[in-house]
Amino acid sequence: MRARWLLPLGTVPALHAAYAAQYLSIEDAQRAAFPEAVSFATLAPPTSAVQAWAAGESSGAAPVRAPKVWEARSADGVLGWLLVDRVIGKTELITYAVALDRAGRILALDVLEYRETHGSEIRLPAWRRQFIGRDAAHPPVFGSDVRNISGATLSCRHVTEGVQRLLRFQQAVLAGAAHG
């Protein structure tokens, strides 16, 4: 049979299934970063603090948006925060989450949604682990602390810059709120 090579194509529709482009939900990211938490509360930080932070971040071109913040609590009080933010990779938005402990140190970085045609390798655990333990005093620097993934340079660079921004947000806005 001459067209024997076409046979494997028949298996393709069978593989089709509906999955979301979301790799991890916010809830999953919360539970993974704070397994001992009993509750996660959405937090609306003081507008004045957010505005002061945004003014410092803005380079004039694009407006800076505040991340969504969840406060993780155990019976003893605040454990830390999960911050969900977005950056542009090459042309598409990447949704990512940074979990911070009460001292502002990174517990985890998760890529929640990735939409680019190439570069989804930033989801690799080995790449994301480079951020753990960093804080506003020792922010991750792209190229030295955070090594690049060839073929995903812009995604790596922009997520690193986004994490730096969130660390400054923690210091400017959240640091004073961790009394509970």
Partner: protein
């Protein structure tokens, strides 16, 4: 039947009614007790609610209920789901031995789009003009560089169908000027692995948590019938001269490719790929009816701190060309049996401020587009070509990661009339 059952049930209720009446007082006291317990519970719940007032449980609903302030870019994303993309390169080449041959060329202007149909499906297109003007009297070229549908079957498995870039080497899939060093694309990844190389077909691609990404597909391939033994095109790039680019591509014989990269250690990329397919495409009475191409490559890249080092080796083999080459006797460019090339390159980011940076680089390439020919009768064997060795020294200056200016000097060990000085600029978005 049903009526009988209803009658029996009624009889049972009537029989027990006096018994229920007798127990009435007991039930009343029990209800009063339950009411008191319920009121106590309600008070307790109210107290708890008060204590936990600022806390709302995490759930998908609560996440969705907190709208983030949308920026213009977010709105654009949500509204259309379509992104305009593009890149361009403008080059100036000046041979050192022959200034009259200096040339400035708008090498490529490319516009593309990515349209997200839904969360798991997108359409990608890229359209290219080469050499600025395309008309019957000009040398320009208009081409579709990519046109494909990409569908995510699973977060770590996707399907691509259409005209797609072949994932061999470090350059072909990522060929925008800000992503590589030097004004011109390197020789190995243009002469041995064609560039920009695309084929029509279907492919599966995926990633694993251990850092391995792969793709494999069934595509169109090359057409040996296009080989022109009278021109030197086949000497410059054997595969580049017989590519089909899905222009009425002969598709009797499909080609297969498998490629992969391991990036399990941040900064490191180790990878390789193989492409194979028959080249005669079923042409009748063709002297190389069973000719088959096998192109294989391996590459490595290490990026750490200011250093960026990469190496690649590619080897191509075309079988069953003896009879074909006998029909081409006397022509300058018979079909080679093997061709190969490799390079090592090192770059060092010496300066960086905000988004701008400067990185000098050095690249050494060796390649041979006609390293061997199929055995021929004594006296009729074509002469193999010597391997060319090229040194390229230069620098990339990125105004920002998407805009690059480049300068370099290229030295050819064998044919030093080709030595040249190059300037270039490029962008991508």
């Amino acid at each position: 039947m049903t009526r009988t059952r209803i009658a029996a049930a009624l009889a049972a209720i009537l029989a027990f009614a006096p018994l229920a009446q007798a127990d009435d007082a007991g039930l009343r006291s029990e209800v009063a007790e339950l009411r008191a317990q319920l009121q106590a519970l309600q008070r307790e719940i109210a107290t708890l609610r008060q204590e936990r007032a600022p806390v709302t449980p995490a759930s998908a609903a609560s996440a969705a209920a907190v709208p983030a302030p949308a920026t213009a870019e977010d709105r654009a994303n949500r509204d259309s789901g379509t992104q305009l993309t593009g890149y361009a390169e403008l080059n100036y080449n000046r041979p050192t031995a022959k200034a009259a041959a200096a040339q400035a060329d708008l090498r490529r202007a490319v516009l593309g789009f990515t349209h997200r149909v839904d969360d798991t499906t997108r359409i990608v297109g890229e359209f290219e003009w080469e050499h600025a003007i395309v008309s019957a009297d000009d040398k320009g070229e208009a081409a579709v560089e990519q046109l494909l549908i990409e569908h995510e079957i699973h977060p770590s498995l996707g399907l691509r169908a259409g005209l797609m870039l072949m994932p061999l080497g470090l350059l072909n899939e990522r060929h925008e000027p800000p992503t590589y060093y030097g004004v011109e694309r390197n020789f190995v990844e243009t002469a041995i692995i064609p560039s920009t190389w695309r084929e029509g077909g279907v492919a599966l691609y995926g990633t694993t948590a251990a850092g391995f990404s792969w793709s494999a597909g069934l595509t169109t391939g090359f057409d040996l019938g296009k080989w022109d033994a009278t021109s030197d095109e086949g000497r410059e790039s054997p595969l580049g001269s017989i590519h089909q680019e899905m222009q009425l591509a002969k598709a009797r014989d499909p080609s297969l490719f498998v490629a992969g990269n391991w990036q399990g250690i941040p900064g490191l990329t180790l990878g390789g790929g193989v492409f194979t397919g028959k080249l005669a495409q079923g042409m009748e009475k063709y002297p190389a009816a069973d000719a088959r191409l096998v192109l294989a490559e391996a590459h490595a890249r290490w990026q750490s701190g200011p250093f960026d080092v990469q190496a690649l080796y590619a080897h191509g083999h075309i079988s069953d060309t003896e009879a074909l080459n006998l029909t081409l006797l006397g022509n300058p460019t018979p079909v080679p049996e093997s061709f190969w090339g490799g390079y090592v390159q090192g770059a060092w980011k010496v300066w960086e401020r905000d988004d701008s940076s400067l990185a000098p680089f050095l690249r050494y390439e060796a390649f041979n587009t006609a390293a061997a020919y199929a055995p021929a009768p004594i006296g009729l064997a074509p002469d193999t070509a010597p391997a060319e060795h090229v040194w390229t020294i230069g620098a990339n200056y990125w105004l920002n990661p998407n805009i690059v200016f480049k300068a370099d000097y290229q030295h050819f060990d064998v044919d030093d009339t080709k030595n040249r000085f190059d300037l270039g600029m490029g962008y991508m978005f």
